[in-house]
């Protein structure tokens, strides 16, 4: 079994309102060392099969559902995990 972590973040140059709002709130709370906040979303997908095939399918998932290429970029990392 493989755990596929798909991390999705906004491309450079795309404003991140959630990050900015969080940044503002952190400053209000007195965390003055904070210089910027960006958000990132991670999907953890458990998959069975050959690693190569899984890599290919994960790419497809990103393109077909998980990301919008206009604003997102993504990273895929795969690690083997014990069966449940």
């Amino acid at each position: 079994m493989f755990e596929v972590s798909i991390s999705i973040e906004l491309k450079k140059g795309i404003t991140d309102p959630e990050g900015e709002a969080t940044f503002k709130s952190l400053h209000l709370l007195g965390f003055e060392n904070v210089k910027s906040v960006r958000t990132e979303k991670v999907f953890k997908v458990l998959m069975e099969g050959e690693k190569e095939q899984i890599e290919k399918e994960a790419e497809e998932m990103c393109k077909k559902l998980l990301t919008n290429p206009v604003i997102h970029k993504y990273r895929i990392s795969i690690r083997e995990v014990e069966h449940d």
Binding site: A21, K24, S25, L28
Partner: protein, 781 residues
């Protein structure tokens, strides 16, 4: 230690026999505590007697079922007596039915349905989940009468937003955090299920720091023939479990609501807070209403506090029958749950359909179409007994009447001492009125609620014809009530408002309660609606304290006095006790949500001033009643008389005002409440983006200028009358022998208030707008 009294049964799953036979008094109490039952010694003794009569010990499943059924939340043991004495029989003949929700007649072919509940404790621990599941629950209450939900209401009470962190009791979250979490929760849930959040109120007070209040209400509309009762119809009916899976969430949610919050509440109670799933609820709503519309359901009940146990008990009890349930059939989130956990779990988004055998297939098909889980789990039997089986073993057998009827405490058991209130108006030098005015206008309890209201979708479904924010687009002010037009082919409307002034109740529970009724009626009349019914959510401290119970009696007495004279019934609501933290109770807070009807919504009026040149009238009498007023609060004055109310007088005023509105005499109308006349004019001017010239010299002679401006006397409205209708308006008021005063005109860009020739306030409307609009934005960002 009670381990010696727990006998594990030799079965392939977890089941304990609890040895009550050998349990002494101390043991009984320990059992109650250790199993999280929250039952008193007397109650435990009653349970012991019951099982000794049967000649056996109970199982853990049975004890948990009783713990749930008898908790304060499910059976109202402290409040049943005063509620019966004061509220339940008010205008009873006008109520169609009062079950999970109250049902009233809307027109010849339709009913409207109202449910109002508290969700205080869960929201204090986890505001986002607490608030959202609160809405989920109250929406299900409305659906399970067979009605389409059409509006949500959410009155909220928090500690001051600028409260210092070091002033917070240990384990208590900052009001700003709670406020944001609750608003986020309501927004994300309400918007997602597509029901407009129509109105509410937000009130800040020090005594809510340790225990915020989150009340939630829902209104529905239905064809008369679709009314479904919360009961089984006959033995042989199938129980169909519909909706989400059952998990460990919410276990002990109900008993948790019946115990005060303490420092450790957070750690201990996390599991009692549930998580809502709006995207499960939305299709569940569709599937249920489709079954209702097709006449496929005999009975219907939502899962609330106490889970399956309470649902089955009440469905059976209301019909005088029994049920047999097979726990193996229940869809679970986690497979290793013990039978008692399955039986009392409070997982969200579940309903129970009572279905005649012949309709079962069609019901299951409709649910499947909507991707809603539906499983037959048991059936009704003639014998008045609840029997539960798990993996072939009987794990519970209780008499329906014993479980559901529950103990009722009469007034002797819960001592109640009404508090003595001494009220006096004392003299003090008058401050600068312009500065005081700006301070009142920008105070948290008066200032703009736009930050909240804009986050809620208040017009999804396209039926909101008078919005919560009223006035020129981009300059809107607060309305008194919102109005929906629920039927495509009728101009009849439903107006909704939510109000109570805890400052009044903190000083005088009786007159505070009367004022709350007066205020909600005023609000409804201000948009042109005739008050029709009230839902009440009674939030109090620990009822074991005689003072709290005394306040409770006083509040019920006040509500009763007003509503009885006005012939307005209380159709839904709940009682929430134990709203305390470290010994500080919330002010008595009977939150009222009132419903009014309008024969033709095209006659509605809003608060914003409409046209320069139109005269402004003050309707009603202004007295030196400033106890609990926003003005005294800002001046840090303790004293003062809480406003009184006379329901018979109120009725005369309402009749005349409605006549004037329905005859089209009125351009704008606003009731006078927090901040009195001053705030009222300000809000009308802001919404209309126009000034006014007002002279306060010609009413309440002898009253000091600041009292005239800031008194919060009841039964008053400020009215912009259409120039050409002035005579007609005056005639209508005179006919009923009412007090009214022409105080000024809509004009210019400044708000000018004078006493004869003496100018008291002269400010640009823009400046007032800025003071009024920014307070909550500034606090919340």
């Amino acid at each position: 230690m009670i381990e010696r009294l727990l006998i594990r049964k030799n079965l392939p799953f977890q089941l304990y026999e609890v040895n009550l036979k050998e349990a002494g008094e101390e043991d009984l109490l320990n059992i109650s505590i250790n199993l999280g039952l929250s039952l008193s010694l007397d109650e435990m003794k009653k349970i012991k007697d019951y099982f000794m009569d049967k000649g056996r010990n109970p199982t853990d499943v049975e004890l948990q079922a009783l713990g749930q059924a008898w908790s304060e939340h499910c059976c109202y043991k402290s409040s049943k007596v005063p509620l019966k004495m004061y509220l339940f029989d008010v205008a009873k003949d006008r109520i169609v039915t009062r079950e999970d929700a109250g049902v009233m007649e809307f027109d010849e072919n339709h009913y409207y349905v109202v449910a109002l509940e508290s969700h205080n404790h869960p929201s204090a621990i986890e505001p986002y989940g607490g608030a959202s599941t609160g809405i989920g629950g109250v929406v299900r209450d409305v659906i399970c009468m067979g009605a389409q939900p059409i509006a949500l209401i959410d009155p909220l009470f928090f500690g001051p937003l600028d409260c210092k962190y070091e002033d917070l009791p240990k384990g208590v979250k900052h009001p700003r955090y709670l406020f944001k979490g609750v608003v986020d929760g309501i927004r994300d849930y309400g918007n997602r299920i597509g029901i407009p959040t129509l109105c509410g109120q937000v009130f800040f007070h020090e005594k809510y720091i340790g225990n915020c209040l989150v009340n939630v209400g829902c209104i529905g509309i239905m064809k008369k023939r679709n009314l479904v009762h919360s009961m089984i119809s006959k033995p042989g009916d199938i129980l169909v479990y519909v909706g989400g899976r059952t998990g460990r969430d919410g276990i002990h949610g109900v008993t948790f609501a019946s115990a005060e919050l303490t420092e450790e509440s957070e750690e201990k109670s996390r599991s009692a807070v549930q998580i809502g799933d709006p995207i499960m609820k939305e299709p569940l709503m569709h599937a249920t209403l489709e079954c209702v519309e097709k006449g496929l359901l005999e009975g219907l009940k939502d899962f609330g506090g106490g889970g399956l146990s309470c649902v089955c008990g009440e469905l059976a009890y209301n019909a005088g029958v029994g049920v047999e349930v097979n726990l193996d059939k229940i869809p679970l989130k986690e497979i290793d749950m013990a039978p008692w956990e399955i039986w009392i779990s409070e997982s969200q988004e579940r309903m129970m359909f009572v279905v005649d055998k012949k309709n079962l297939e069609e019901v299951l098909h409709i649910c499947k179409k909507w991707d809603v889980l539906a499983v037959p789990i048991g059936k009704a039997i003639g014998e008045k007994v609840i029997r539960v089986f798990y993996r072939g073993f009987k794990v519970l057998e209780l008499d329906v009447d014993f479980q559901v009827a529950g103990p009722v405490y009469d007034s002797c058991k819960r001592p109640h001492i009404p508090r003595r209130t001494e009220e006096k108006e004392e003299d003090f030098p008058m401050p600068n009125l312009e500065r005081a005015f700006l301070k009142v206008v920008s105070s948290p309890n008066v200032s703009s609620r736009e930050w909240i209201i804009r986050q809620y979708d208040h017009e999804v479904r396209g039926c909101t014809v008078i919005k919560p924010l009223q006035g020129i687009v981009g300059r809107e002010s607060h309305g008194d009530a919102a109005v929906i037009k629920p039927l495509e082919n009728s101009f009849k409307g439903i107006a909704v408002t939510a109000d109570v002034n805890p400052n009044f109740l903190d000083k005088n529970p009786y007159w505070g309660a009367c004022s709350a009724v007066d205020e909600v009626c005023r609000n409804l009349v201000a948009v042109g609606a005739k008050p029709d019914s009230i839902a009440d959510c009674l939030n109090f401290g620990n009822p074991e304290r005689s003072r709290v119970m005394g306040d409770f009696y006083e509040v019920c007495r006040g509500l009763s006095y007003m509503a009885r004279s006005l012939n307005i019934p209380f159709i839904s609501g709940n009682v929430s006790f134990y709203n305390e933290c470290n010994g500080i109770a919330v002010p008595p807070t009977p939150q009222l949500t009132a419903i009014g009807l309008i024969p033709d919504i095209r006659k509605c009026v809003t608060v914003d001033f409409k046209k320069e040149g139109n005269p402004i009238y003050l309707v009603g009498e202004t007295k030196r009643e400033l106890g609990g007023s926003e003005y005294y609060r800002l001046l840090k004055l303790e004293g003062g008389i809480v406003p009184r109310s006379n329901p018979n007088l109120l009725k005369r005023y309402m009749d005349a005002m409605l006549k004037a509105i329905w005859k089209g005499c009125i351009g704008a109308c606003h009731d006078l409440s927090e901040g009195g006349l001053a705030v009222c004019i300000a809000e009308m001017a802001i919404g209309g983006w126009v000034g006014a010239d007002v002279d306060i010299g010609n009413f309440s002679n002898g009253l000091r200028e600041d009292f005239k401006l800031f008194s919060e006397s009841n039964t008053r409205w400020l009215v912009e009358v259409k120039e050409e209708k002035e005579k007609e308006f005056e005639r209508l008021m005179k006919e009923k022998k009412l007090k009214f005063y022409r105080v000024g005109t809509v004009t210019g860009e400044r708000l000018i208030v004078r006493n004869g020739r003496k100018e008291l306030i002269d400010l640009d409307v823009d400046r007032i707008d800025k003071a009024w609009r920014r307070t909550i934005w500034n606090a919340m960002g």
